[in-house]
């Protein structure tokens, strides 16, 4: 039973090795997302700051552009100072995840800028769309990594986005947006950071 030839000439040992490699790559991908848990927290806080500005401060049309620009600057600085993890981390799954987040992140910024520049910021459809964009990014990542906590985050984004098309007063919209941001971004980011800390502690213990 240990090393029989399969129909296509693949031995059992080779299949076991392939499965082990796939599991290792999935774990690397999750680890990579956990490493970037701080980004979820940072963007979640940015969303909160932008909403707070639109509610309490003047020049509300500048809230999103300024907050996104400031967040992008902080993001760039922190990422450039973060030590690179070499070797196997640059795998195919990681490449796919980078593609998902870079494209959807860029798309959200493009969409928001177009909404603001064209004066369509009063339509409820645009805030719902932003929630759906975030749900899409989390949903694709969860599917690629086969990671149910991120699937829950995606469901929260989609659920709040759907609800936003039904509850359309300004207060309800804000409550839904802030709920989605808090649960789907900040709480998920903190969870990812906690996972990373656990993994780092495990690595330190293993080295000791």
């Amino acid at each position: 039973m240990t090393n029989i030839e399969q129909h296509d000439g693949t031995t059992r040992d080779e299949l076991v090795q392939r499965v082990a490699l796939m599991e290792a790559m999935i774990a690397e991908g999750r680890q990579s997302t956990a490493r970037y848990g701080w980004m979820f927290v940072l963007w979640g806080l940015t969303y909160f700051a932008a909403i707070a500005w639109t509610v309490y401060l003047p020049y509300t049309e500048w809230a999103w552009p300024v907050c996104i620009a400031a967040c992008s600057a902080v993001f760039g600085i922190v990422r450039s100072r973060q030590p690179r993890v070499g070797g196997k981390i640059d795998n195919l799954r990681r490449h796919s995840l980078d593609a998902v987040w870079q494209v959807i992140g860029g798309g959200i910024i493009l969409y928001l800028l177009a909404v603001i520049a064209s004066g369509h910021g009063k339509e409820p459809g645009y805030l719902a769309a932003v929630l759906f964009f975030n749900g899409l990014a989390n949903g694709v990542s969860a599917r690629i990594l086969r990671w149910w906590p991120q699937g829950v985050a995606a469901a929260i984004w989609w659920g709040c986005g759907t609800a936003m098309l039904f509850f359309t007063t300004r207060t309800e919209e804000l409550a839904l947006f802030l709920t989605a941001t808090f649960c789907g971004m900040i709480v998920f980011g903190l969870y990812a950071m906690w996972l990373e800390r656990g993994a780092a502690a495990g690595t330190v213990q293993a080295h000791a």
């Binding site: 998902v100 969409y111 409820p124 690629i144």
Partner: protein, 206 residues
Amino acid sequence: MADFEREDGVTREELVQRVELMERLIAEGRQTTVRFGWIFLLWGLIDLVGVGWDELQPDFRWVWPITLSAGFVLQFIILALRRKGGYRCGGSMRGRSVAAVWRMMGLTVLLYVVAAIVQHKAGQISYIAAILMFVGMAHAISAVILRWWAQGLVAGVWLAGGIATFFVPRSYVLGVFIAEMCLGMVLFGLYAMWLERRNRSGIKGE
């Protein structure tokens, strides 16, 4: 030059093997997209039928629910027939990632469209633009994963259409939507099907 050891112990032959493996995986991923070119064609035509019917009977509220349901039924039937004929989705990691992107995009658009239709908000500019952006993002992610410039071009067309929707006069929005369906769905679907036919005839020729 043929087999010298590098500083990190990786030989030239190993590097060549890795590059070949990566190129093969990318080709497999593209092959998966090409095999499903008919889905782009199908949904392009379904959406065009929906737009046409909506123009003819603007007061009939069941246009889009009926059209979209018919699209799903047709897709399900064609998929089942192709599976019987021996077609399988590519099992490579890139293929699975691309499949994940399109499945999640489909789910997202479905939720968004159903909620907007139920609440009669489907006429908002930001809603129409968001649908074009969803599809554009899915194409862009696939293009980056597969390093496929043709799909990147299609993504650009979708994203540009989504942005243009905000700025063109209201009467032109339908024209933008139809142009997107023709260029980004029907034409890309036909291109993918042509690629698939060429690949299959190449395999038979070998």
